[in-house]
């Protein structure tokens, strides 16, 4: 199916949940609202015309100008779908974007739909702060209930890839800088 057909099928089925469809360009995607994202995910995986069985990556984006955090899901179908687009059938790829507000960044976890999502969601939480509710590897600590961090140490403070991240002054007694001069000015 072409990206336009995929976007149209989604819009016909889910209506208001599909906020917008951007099918032009190199990265055709639709924007899905966070509250119905899990339904859309199951449909994308199970529908016989879609059959997106491979979640390639979850990428987090910090849209500071809109005050939003964005999770981009890159999907791919490894088997040809029921509607072949030629002699060998077409294996299509598509992307879905979910935008959440910065002060309440909660998205439903799709780790039960695509198992690889577990680690990708942990990384998106660790580096950007998007909280995925329902991730199998969830812990509760001073930051609330969130997926366990995967790259930074468990007691790290902050989410490093946010655009307003302040570098730590020290961690567990080790100074953050070798000398007195900070080579990096504080970001606004």
């Amino acid at each position: 199916m072409t990206p336009e057909q995929i976007a149209k099928t989604l819009q016909d089925k889910f209506g208001q949940a599909i906020a917008e469809a951007c099918v032009e360009g190199l990265h055709p995607h639709v924007v899905v609202s966070a509250d119905r994202w899990h339904e859309v995910a199951v449909f994308l995986r199970d529908d016989e015309h879609m059959k997106f069985d491979w979640l390639r990556a979850i990428s987090g984006v910090d849209r500071m100008e809109d005050g939003q955090l964005e999770a981009v899901y890159d999907l791919h179908a490894t088997q040809p779908s029921a509607e072949p687009g030629g002699l060998w059938g077409e294996r299509h790829g598509f992307a879905v974007t979910v935008k959440v507000p910065r002060d309440n960044p909660h998205v439903a976890s799709v780790a039960d739909v695509w198992p690889t999502a577990e680690w990708h969601e942990r990384e998106a939480y660790d580096l950007l702060g998007i909280v995925f509710d329902g991730n199998p590897d969830t812990v509760t600590d001073h930051d609330g209930t969130h997926p366990r961090r995967i790259l930074c140490p468990d007691d790290w403070v902050g989410h490093p890839l946010r655009k307003d991240y302040q570098f730590p002054e020290e961690y567990q007694g080790i100074p953050g800088w070798a000398g007195d001069d900070r080579p990096l000015d504080k970001k606004k």
Binding site: D53, W54, A77, T78, A111, D112, V113
Partner: protein, 173 residues
């Protein structure tokens, strides 16, 4: 059968030999002791609580270091000990049975030895074989226990399997 127990070279007597062996052992032990004492005199002694901690590649050790070994290894070792000693006891019998160790092995002497010795050894071997058959029949020689009789459940095995359940159904298959 009148040969000496130990024939030494001319000029050497037993006292010399014993003294030589003892001197050798003392010299060896003395060298080791000297090196240890020199080390004790010159090495630095700095105490650090981490030095007494269990080594776990830099992490803090979780849990004790001892696991219970699989009991099948114990059974294997025990069976080995018993049958190894049996084989060790075969050797002198076999030497005598073959005629070795006698200066003059006459034919009629050997015939007398052989009949008696054969029945003796068959009796000994028979007793040990009965034990072996018992082990075999009751399954103590099987490494993998047959299902439905005395096997360990997955929860009790010494090697833990993957405890986490697979997440969700297969996607797309």
């Amino acid at each position: 059968m009148t040969s000496d127990v130990l024939a030494l070279a001319p000029g050497v007597d037993h006292v010399n030999v014993t003294f030589g062996v003892l001197l050798f052992c003392a010299a060896g032990g003395g060298m080791v002791l000297a090196i240890l004492i020199l080390g004790w005199l010159f090495r630095p002694k700095v105490y650090n609580p981490d030095k007494g901690a269990i080594y776990e590649c830099g992490e803090e050790a979780i849990g004790p270091g001892q696991l219970q070994f699989d009991l099948r290894f114990y059974v294997v070792a025990l069976v080995f000990i018993v049958f190894d000693i049996e084989i060790a006891l075969f050797y002198p019998w076999a030497v005598v049975f073959g005629g070795g160790g006698f200066e003059q092995a006459t034919v009629e002497f050997m015939q007398r030895v052989k009949t008696g010795a054969l029945y003796d050894m068959l009796f000994f071997f028979g007793v040990v074989v009965v034990g072996f058959l018992y082990l075999w029949k009751y399954g103590y020689l099987d490494w993998v226990r047959a299902l439905g009789g005395g096997g360990l459940s997955a929860a009790d095995r010494a090697v833990p399997g993957d405890a986490r359940p697979t997440a969700g159904s297969e996607a797309g298959q």
